[in-house]
Symmetry: C2
Subunit: 161 residues, 2 copies
C-alpha cells in the first residue's frame, strides 16, 4: 500500500472515532463490593438555566430570585434531578463506565442545593447480584451533608470468553 | 405622584418579576386521587448534547454514533435521567406545580429513548398521605410503550387559614 493511502486510512480511522478516546469497558468480573467512585461539581446559575431548558422544568423556585425569596428555601435552588444526573455521570464515565446499562435508581431528596454549592456525588458497590446486576449506594453531598441519597442497580457486561 | 414616577414604579415592578407570570400555587386541599398531568417532548440530538454538558455524563453511548453502533442499542440513546427530568418538569410546572417539594422518586429504566423519539411523561396521584405528602405514579412512554416507570412523593403546601 503506498504511503499516501496508509495515511489516508489512518486519518479515516481517527475521524471515525469522532474524537472519543478509546472506550475502556469494565466487566462484571472486574468489580467487587466496596469499590467506589466520585465526581465533584460546583453548581452555577448557568447550570440551573441549562437544566431548566433541557428538562422543561422552569419552576420559578429554580429561575426567579424574587419568587424563590418567598419560599422556605429563601433563594433559588437547583433541580433535584440535576444532582441525580451527577450520579448518572459516575455510572456512565467512571464506575462501571461505558457498556453498563442503568436498570433502576431510587432518589430521596434530603436538602436543597444552592447556586455555588459544590456537590460531591459518590457511588459505592453494595452487592454483586445474579445476571450481572450490580447494586450501588448513591449519595450526593454538599459540605459533607447528604442532599440526595438512594440506591441504583446497573447491568454490567461479562468478560468475553 | 407625577405620571413619570408612576411609570417608573410600574417598570420596576415588572422588572422585579423577571418576566415570570404570576405563580399559581396548588394546595394540598385542591388535590384528589386520580388527578394527572402530562407533558410531551421530542428528544433531539441537541437535547442529548446539552444534557451531557450539564450533567457531565459523556458516556459515548449518548454522544458517539460509531461506538453506539457497537452496543446492544445499535445507535445513540438519550440519558435515562433526561426522561426523569421530564417528570420533574410536570411536578414543577403543572401538578402540583410551584410550592411543592420533591421528597422522593423511584426510577425503573425499561427501554432506551432514541433521537427523534417523543417522550410522553405522565404523573398521576395514587394517594393523599399524611403531613401533606402526595404519592404519584410516574411513567414516561414512547409510542405508548413505557420507557421509564416509578413512583414519587411530593410535599404540597396547605391552603392558608
Amino acid at each position: 500500500m503506498p504511503l499516501g493511502s496508509a495515511r489516508s486510512l489512518e486519518r479515516t480511522l481517527l475521524q471515525s472515532n469522532n474524537g472519543t478516546p478509546d472506550v475502556k469497558i469494565t466487566y462484571y468480573e472486574d468489580l467487587s463490593v466496596g469499590q467506589e467512585a466520585s465526581m465533584s461539581k460546583t453548581v452555577t446559575e448557568a447550570d440551573i438555566v441549562a437544566f431548566a431548558d433541557v428538562s422543561g422544568d422552569k419552576n420559578p423556585v429554580h429561575l426567579d430570585a424574587d419568587y424563590a425569596s418567598t419560599t422556605l428555601f429563601k433563594e433559588r435552588i437547583a433541580h433535584g434531578m440535576l444532582s441525580a444526573s451527577f450520579i448518572s455521570a459516575i455510572f456512565g464515565m467512571k464506575l462501571p463506565g461505558p457498556g453498563s446499562v442503568y436498570v433502576s435508581q431510587s432518589l430521596a431528596f434530603k436538602a436543597p442545593v444552592k447556586i455555588g454549592d459544590t456537590v460531591v456525588a459518590t457511588a459505592k458497590i453494595l452487592e454483586l447480584m445474579e445476571k450481572r446486576r450490580v447494586r450501588f449506594e448513591t449519595v450526593c453531598a454538599v459540605d459533607g451533608k447528604p442532599v440526595l441519597t438512594g440506591e441504583a442497580v446497573l447491568m454490567v457486561p461479562g468478560r468475553p470468553a
